[in-house]
Symmetry: C2
Subunit: 199 residues, 2 copies
């Protein structure tokens, strides 16, 4: 097989909160276990992170959550990956801010790069897993919320191989949140599960 992709150039960046047991939502999608908004104005690095990306790629479920917010929270372009929604589903007030695509990660990355995007915030469990499997996540900031919720929607899944990470930075906040930034060292095509060699 080809050598592992140079992921320092990978397109996707993940920035997400999980419970200490690895869930991003309860089984019904509920986020009531997240700290109530505010935290004394602490944003856990979110604003600084957003400055490093050219836009946001998310799944339909994340999109529908965001639609429930009081106002649209993004000032950068958003792409929603969906096999069921079409461009006719973009609400009038979001035209020009949002597009919907049925493209797979590799194709979408090629399209967005051609438009001049250097990197994107990848959000939502299924989309994150698809980008990880495609070797298109270069960096992940995982913020652990100090709670065990026992069951829910996991952040990670099985992509059929190991992904080695490197810790770039880690910070504990007074609230008990611990935020760790990882670089993804080897892409989704390096099979190390059975003995360490490339397949």
């Amino acid at each position: 097989m080809a050598p592992a992709k140079a992921l320092s150039n990978a397109f996707g960046k993940v920035f997400i909160a999980t419970s200490v047991d690895g869930f991003i939502a309860r089984p019904d999608g509920s986020l009531d276990w997240l700290p109530a908004g505010g935290d004394g104005g602490e944003d856990y690095g979110y604003a600084a992170f957003m400055k490093t990306v050219d836009g946001i790629v998310m799944g339909r479920s994340t999109y529908e959550s965001v639609l429930g917010f009081e106002s649209w929270p993004f000032d950068k372009p958003v792409v929603v990956m969906s096999r069921t929604l079409g461009s006719g589903d973009v609400p009038v007030h979001l035209r020009g801010k949002l597009r919907i695509t049925s493209a797979q990660p590799a194709q979408l990355v090629a399209e967005l790069r051609a438009e001049g995007w250097g990197s994107a915030y990848i959000d939502g469990g299924a989309v994150i897993r698809a980008f990880l499997a495609a070797g298109e996540v270069g960096e992940m900031t995982i913020t652990r919320v100090p709670v065990l919720i026992g069951a829910g929607r996991p952040l990670f899944g099985d992509i059929g191989c190991d992904l080695r990470l490197a810790c770039l930075a880690s910070q504990a906040y007074p609230s008990g949140m611990v935020s760790t930034r990882y670089r993804v060292e080897a892409g989704g095509r390096v099979m190390v599960r059975n003995g360490g060699g490339d397949e």
Copy 2:
């Protein structure tokens, strides 16, 4: 229900490594994803932790792994929780160092406290989950190994309620390991899943 147990007095302390995706072993029990021994002599706080406990409580599966080591690694008393092993299964060279019990966590804690133990290192996935469910874990040190392995034996399970944690300390090591020490704030009987109130 009764107020949440004062867990500052809880008996169990967990000290364990997991992958970033929350596994303590591959599906077949393999630990090949852990860093090779040594790490330049770094023990990630293990020796200091061991000084804080009076002994070790582990499950059969952990015990059988340890039996495969070159030598018995513990100089404190070990209790193995098992429904299938009996005291006749203690190897001759471990007599006096090891006992086997079929007691459940609450009963075992009562017995060990009566013998003068103040706290124990709780090791092994199933035993950790049983002690968490019983409200008998006061502190957990979780060391995240910088790798996603995709599938395996999870550290945590569903105990039917949330467990709130407080972060006591967090440290990133040059190897990329991130070790976080949590206090368990509310015991296994505080149901917060449906709205936040005690049940």
